[in-house]
Subunit: 249 residues, 2 copies
């Protein structure tokens, strides 16, 4: 219904605008077919969360900021949906951290990689940033993964000690954790394999989270002894509370 919604006072305006961004990116060839379905899944979880950043998500975002700032070689690993939704924000974050972005997509085709690279490079120029964009010429492989999805760049994901992975596939998230990296996940589904596997998981919509991260990085917060399961259960409890006693009967 994005065609009709342009009124910022609509209660679900932000969600509908995000849907529009994904549609437009799809039309530009930046996304695999499964990306639309994945976006729909995210919408449902965000709807249940009240389309807002919960207290526990903000706490997790602070922890992500702390670990990105502490990292020796952080990298932002972005897939098609993350770029469609929050390319500007991630370029800003990479610039704050002085770290590269690596485009890392699950269904890799030269066309899709080309479209995503062109989009990021254009924004990089328009925003007058100088962020290094990796991913075009993979020269290393993530151990334990088969096929094109293992492809990565030596000077990016391969050598990174801390990786931010918005909307990551479960297999790849597990493989990155198995390499001993700190894996910082953004995922609206608190039950997904990525959410459960990550070192720190933020259960929040990727654009809201990225905007919060931009505010938190300059504060250079301290790393804590993070209990990821607690954050995930807090998100589930938030949903459970919001759906109890909805109907009088």
């Amino acid at each position: 219904m994005t065609e009709e919604i342009a009124d910022p006072s609509h209660p679900r305006y932000q969600s509908l605008m995000m849907r529009k961004r994904v549609s437009e990116a799809g039309a530009k060839g930046m996304l695999a077919e499964s990306a639309m379905i994945a976006h729909g899944r995210g919408e449902a979880f965000d709807y249940l969360l009240g389309e807002q950043t919960t207290d526990s998500a903000l706490e997790a975002t602070r922890e992500v900021a702390a670990r990105l700032v502490r990292g020796n070689k952080p990298v932002l690993s972005l897939n098609g949906n993350a770029i469609a939704l929050a390319a500007r924000e991630f370029l800003t974050i990479a610039s704050q951290l002085d770290c590269p972005i690596e485009i890392n997509i699950f269904y890799r085709t030269p066309q899709r990689m080309g479209a995503l690279l062109a989009h990021l490079k254009l924004l990089n120029t328009n925003l007058e940033l100088d962020v290094e964009i990796l991913g075009a010429t993979p020269n290393a492989r993530i151990p334990g993964l088969e096929g094109p999805r293992a492809a990565c760049q030596q000077e990016g994901i391969m050598e990174a000690d801390v990786i931010l992975v918005p909307l990551e596939d479960g297999d790849r998230c597990e493989a990155l954790v198995a390499m001993g990296k700190e894996v910082l996940v953004i995922d609206l589904n608190p039950l997904s394999r990525s959410a459960r596997t990550g070192t720190v998981t933020v259960v929040d919509e990727v654009t809201r989270m990225a905007k919060n991260l931009i505010q938190l990085i300059p504060q250079k917060p301290e790393v804590t002894d993070w209990n990821n399961d607690k954050g995930l259960q807090d998100s589930l409890d938030h949903i459970a509370k919001s759906i109890s006693n909805k109907f009088d009967n």
Copy 2:
């Protein structure tokens, strides 16, 4: 990930097969772009429901069977996703009830209507059924709706006393209820406007529900004094219970 999953022992095989059906229907031009996102939203709710028919959903399906059997002029109003997912099952149900199917899509284009009509008519022949398929030549309008989405057929939706609407848009569901019809909804989101507006709402995956309906119609169950809010809250309670204490922390 549908490309890789063909093993029926996979715990999410059914869900992945449904995703494949939607993808394929999209490739055939049967679906609007928003259909993939809508399917993803449904997947998330089904995931939270445990990808199974709950007791309260089965009870609601029995009530739907009772009201379809009691109806003087029932009709099945099918959109693109419903046809992509469960065309065979709905043809069987229409044949059991000796009632028409009306194709009624939200973003109506001649191409999409043509693809859906051709698909249903071919299946109708292959299954050796003789179900009347309406929708090609709308000659009436649902009051209170603007534009092409109001279009319907006099001898179908317009004159029906009972309408089954799988995956219906909220506005249209409200307009049908306002016409004084019994509106029987299938929707995985217990909080959607359609779910809340329907006379009887089944919170279940459309294919599972349709298969159950085929079993229940011949039993000619009795209509009860249905409390729809109770069914919706039962579904929410099922989700809330399934997500509590998921993580030890």
